[in-house]
Structure formats: C-alpha cells, structure tokens
C-alpha cells in the first residue's frame, strides 16, 4: 500500500476538540456531512469553511479531536475534501474514527509547518513521512499499528467488515 497526498497546510492549535470541528448542536437536523461542512470550525475560525479547498491538509498541535467521540467530526472533514490530519498527538477516539473512515491521521512534529505551506504526506510499507515541499525538509511520523494498517488498506472499517464479517 502506498498513499501519497499533496496539499496546502491549514494550521490549527492545540486541543482542537470535536465540538470545535463541528458543534453537537448542529446535528439536530442532519448528519449529512455535505450539509454540515458549512459549519466546519465555526466557533474557532468562522472564515474556515468558506476558504477550505479539496486536498487541504489540516495541521494541528497536541490532542487533536479531544472531547466527544462523535464521528461526524471525521466525516465532515472528508466531505470538505480533507484526506489527512497532521498533529503532534490525537485523542484516541478521533484516531480510531479517522482510520475507520479512511481519513489519515499522521502523528508527527508539526511545529515547523507554516500556514499555506506545500506538504506531501506519504504512507507506505516503510512508514509515514511528511515532506515540506518548499524547504526540502522531511519529518517522520509515528507508524500505525498493524491492525489499523489492515483497516486502512481495505479502505476503512466498512469494507473491512464487509469482507471479513469479523476482526482478525
């Protein structure tokens, strides 16, 4: 398996909780991520939803996705065209939900990444790397446990369970 993603860095801070990604109160009417994406990060960055572009890479600090375990916080990013999140660390429920839906969580040092920087994220059999395209710098990401790679290889937990009907 080799996944290669090129994109523009969109910077966020530490402790971005799932309510900041998408407010629980927005789920009253619909769970359709294509509708909910207009409210993406509304309470911390009201301009974000209008400026996000398909292919953008989210870059955060520590503890991304903390708080609620709600899964729309993952599907809404995918609906907005975001394929990967780079963060110093993730909340465990967010990390699981991301893998299960095929959103790639990359745990790495994000301190040197600037807003708008061009990045290439590579996930293959040798591990996870983030390449700063402009500065020719490369950062190693934390490798994924085998079970998560297996789920990601199938395209997420839905195709995984469809194929195996169980965990193995």
């Amino acid at each position: 398996m080799r996944i290669e993603l090129d994109g523009r860095a969109r910077l966020l801070g530490d402790d971005v909780n799932t309510d900041y990604i998408i407010a629980s109160s927005r789920k009253k009417e619909t769970l359709d991520a294509n509708v909910l994406k207009q409210y993406l990060f509304e309470s911390i960055d009201p301009a974000f939803a209008a400026t996000v572009q398909p292919g953008d890479l989210l870059v955060a600090g520590r503890n991304f996705g903390c708080g609620s375990a709600m899964e729309v916080a993952v599907t809404v990013l995918l609906a907005a065209g975001i394929r990967a999140v780079l963060a110093r660390s993730f909340a465990r429920t967010y990390y699981r939900n991301a893998i299960n839906n095929g959103l790639i969580p990359i745990e790495c040092d994000t301190a040197a990444i600037r807003e708008g920087a061009r990045l290439r994220a590579v996930l293959d059999d040798s591990g996870v790397r983030v390449i700063h395209v402009d500065g020719q710098r490369e950062v190693e990401g934390r490798p994924l446990p085998p079970i998560m790679l297996a789920i990601l290889r199938e395209g997420g937990l839905v195709p995984y369970i469809r194929a195996h009907h169980d965990l193995s």
């Binding site: 309510d19 900041y20 009253k28 708080g67 375990a69 660390s89 299960n100 839906n101």
Partner: protein, 469 residues
C-alpha cells in the same frame, strides 16, 4: 514478567490472551451502548457493512439522551430510525427523559466488576467506578461491535493515581477530578488508563468514584478504573435490590425478556504491576478547584477566581447530576440564605451592595440568576421528588428540566444567553459547548455552583459550609 494492572487483567480475560501494555488484542464485549448522538450513524455503518443480525441483543442498549426532550421537529427522524432498528433487532431502548446513558449503564446493573464495556459516547469511561474496563468508541466501531460482538483494543499503559488523606469541608470529589485535570493536562493520560488506588480511593463511595472515572477522559484517558471492594459491593447490592424491587419503575414496565448480566469478576492489580507513571494526591490539602473557560485543564483554586460575575448556574450531567450532588447544592443554598449575601461578598472583587438586611425574606438566588437543575436519570429525579429536593429548588426559582444531556452540550434545553458566564457541574467547558459561542463556562463542584447561584459571583463554598459544620 512483572504483575498486571487492572486494565491488563480485564483485557486479558476479555481477549483470552496474555495482554500487556502496548499489545493489540481482540476482545469479547460484555455490553455495547449507543445514544441518539451516535446510533443513527452506527445504523448507516451497520447497513453498509452488510450487517443483518446483531451478535446478542441482550448485550446492547440504546439511550435517547442527547436530544431529549426533542429540540426540533427534524430530530424525530433520528429517534424514529433508532427505535425502528431497535425493534427489528430486539434491542432495549431507553426513551427520551429516562436518563443519561452513563447513569443508566450503572443504574440498570449492566456495569459490573471485571466487565468490558464499550459505549459510543466519550464519557463511557464512567463505568470504571465499578471496576469495569469501560471506554468510548465512535459509531463505526459500535456498528462493527454490534455485528461481531468484538472490538480491537490496544492494552493501555496505566497511571497509578494514589489518593490519600481526607477531603475537608467544602471540598468534594469534583475538586479531586479538576485537580487531576490541572495536574495531568487535557492529554496527560492520552492512550493510557488511570487506575485509582490508595486509602482515600477506598473511602470514596461509588457515587463519588463515578465523578473521577467520568472525568478521566478529560485527561485523554482510555479508562479510569477503581478496584472492586466493599464500597463496590455495597453499590451493586443497592442497585440489584432496587432493580429487583422495581424501584426503578420507569423502565420496569417496559423491560423486555432481557436478563441483566449477573456475572461479576472483581479485579485488582498485582502488587508488582508495572505502571508508566505514579501520581499522588493528598486530599487533606486539596482546596476547591475551578476550571476556567475554555479548557477543562485550565484549573485554578476557587480563591483565584472569586468575584467573577455569574449569570447562570447548571447542576446536572453524568458528572454532577446524581442525588448527592443536588443534596450538596441545596444544603449550600439553604445555609447561604441563613448567612446572608453581604458577609459572603466581603472579600469579593467589586462586590455590589445587594440586600444587606436581615435573613428574613432574602431571596435564595442572586437577582437575575438562572439556575438549571437536570437530574441524571428518572430514578434520580424520582428520589429527589420524593424527598422534596426538586420542590425546594423550584420554590427558589430554579428551572427543573427532564433528565438528559441537553443543557451540557447545547443539544436541548436552556441555552446560555450571549455573553453570559455560566458555572456548571458538567465535565466540559469548551467554547460553544452549551450552544452559545459567546458564553463562558466555569466548571466546579455542585456546592461551588450553588454558592455562585446565591451570590451571583464565584464564591468559595467553604465560607458557607465551614459555618454550617
């Protein structure tokens, strides 16, 4: 090989493997729980996964608590889909108004020592209070669990939290939880478990332990577990007696043939268990804590926040909505009414001079204060109704809402007005958490929330309770 932690032992039992911290194991689940916040998506995943049957209906429950009472007509669609799925698969569903899922997992006796519980809600860690390994998952994991009855988990390293000493007057289990959040930070226990030990942990009642286990996820923890002891047995016996006697009447009438799980396998850590870190907390030296906006680990002593104006106080949730919490709050309000407002404001910052007359006829809530009372379950509500607590709050001018999660996460119930300061017994104070992006939320014990409801500003509950004792 060194000994094992409680987490390693429960995951070993549930997986049939020798699970050590760092190992990924596939575990049999004793009970899976979902809410109206997570089940509708789980149904979509279930269908996409090709699910036809659930692994065991008696090991799954659904709770309608996040959107209860239904805040919008459109929400009915989520509830209807959830109920239709539950009917088709013979899954027990708790209706809107019956309670918050985590409280129901305990009250209905599904949380047993040694059990492995997963819940599609982050505060599922609450079950650790009864010596279960209980953890939060998302909707896709819930769907997979409903199909195969299993879940993969990485056995976590454990932080040993050693509690010693005794809480002083005006200091409560919520203050322990906030102190730990301040100490460890919002990700201080990420991917790890908290295991509570020490003489003061043994002294805590189940109701107190629930607060600490519940808040462990605010430090990123995967679980927050107590050992099973005399207090656990007492709590379980009471739960079982109440269920057997039908005291929890609201659902006795609608209960299906499903049996409650009876098996309990108390688990304690080996003396030579290996922990990744040890944290000690002397409760005798602990003072009331408060988490300031907008992070749970933004914790200071209440004395550092005294005088901050408060316009809304909220007592409820899976953290602070049990019988003892409301008794604690009512005791403070009654004591404060006897003391009077002026003495309590003597050292407040810019305290206005409100009614400095004698104790008679003094209103129990500060002018303009909105006090919201939300019992964690119908059982809690019934007990508070029987003992007169709810009537006492209502007489003071409080709003009493049906049990549910609504006010805590802005999904139903009173939403704070723009720009107000709220003091709350809940577990999260994120910006916009209660449904208003310009409100600021302070987290504290029920006693501190009641004290602020009386004075209209953040107040040290010890000033009231010291006088009481």
């Amino acid at each position: 090989m060194p000994g094992k932690t409680i987490s390693e032992k429960i995951l070993s039992r549930a997986s049939g493997r020798d699970a050590r911290a760092g190992d990924v194991v596939i575990c049999d689940v004793d009970c899976a729980m979902g809410t109206d916040g997570s089940v509708p998506m789980a149904i979509d995943y279930f269908e996409q996964m090709g699910g036809t049957e659930v692994f065991d209906p008696s090991r799954i429950i659904f709770v309608m608590d996040h959107y209860a009472p239904r805040p919008k007509s459109a929400t009915a669609d989520l509830h209807d889909r959830m109920k239709a799925f539950a009917t088709r698969h013979d899954i027990r569903v708790y209706e809107a108004g019956e309670g918050v899922c985590h409280q129901l997992m305990v009250e209905t006796g599904r949380t047993r020592p040694g059990g492995l519980l997963v819940g599609a809600d982050s505060h599922s860690v609450t079950g650790g209070a009864l010596n279960a390994f209980a953890t939060g998952i998302g909707s896709s994991d819930l769907a997979a669990t409903m199909i195969c009855g299993r879940i993969w988990l990485r056995a976590p390293e454990a932080i040993k939290v050693v509690l010693t000493g005794q809480l002083g007057p005006g200091v409560f289990p919520k203050d322990i939880a906030l102190a730990l959040a301040g100490l460890l930070g919002a990700d201080g226990a990420a991917y790890q478990a908290l295991e509570f030990e020490g003489p003061a942990a043994a002294d805590l009642d189940v109701e107190d332990r629930l607060v600490l286990s519940n808040m462990s996820v605010e430090m990123g923890a995967k679980a927050g577990i107590f050992r099973a002891d005399r207090k656990t047995a007492e709590g379980l016996r009471r739960t079982d007696e109440r269920n057997a006697a039908g005291v929890i009447s609201a659902w006795a009438s609608t209960r299906t043939h499903h049996e409650l799980p009876a098996a309990s396998v108390p688990v304690e850590a080996d003396a030579d268990a290996k922990y990744c870190r040890e944290v000690a907390l002397d409760l005798s030296r602990l003072t009331p804590r408060i988490a300031r906006p907008h992070a749970v680990d933004n914790v200071v002593g209440v004395t550092d926040a005294i005088g901050t104006p408060i316009q809304m106080a909220f007592i409820g949730t899976c953290t602070g909505g049990r019988v003892g919490d409301f008794h604690q709050a009512l005791a403070v309000l009654r004591a404060a009414t006897r003391i009077g407002r002026s003495p309590l404001e003597s050292d407040a910052i810019g305290a206005p001079t409100v009614d400095s007359t004698g104790p008679e006829g003094r209103p129990p809530l500060a002018p303009g204060m909105q006090l919201v009372i939300t019992p964690a379950s119908r059982d809690v509500e019934d007990e508070l109704r029987r003992d007169g607590t709810l009537a006492a709050f209502a007489e003071m001018g409080a709003i009493v809402t049906p049990p549910g999660c609504g006010p805590c996460c802005g999904t139903a119930g009173p939403i704070p007005a723009a720009g107000v300061n709220v003091i709350s017994t809940a577990n999260r104070n994120f910006k916009a958490r209660m449904g208003s992006a310009s409100a600021s939320i302070y987290l504290a014990s029920p006693a501190a929330c009641a004290a602020a409801a009386f004075t209209g500003r953040i107040t040290d509950p010890r000033d009231i309770l010291a006088d009481l004792r």
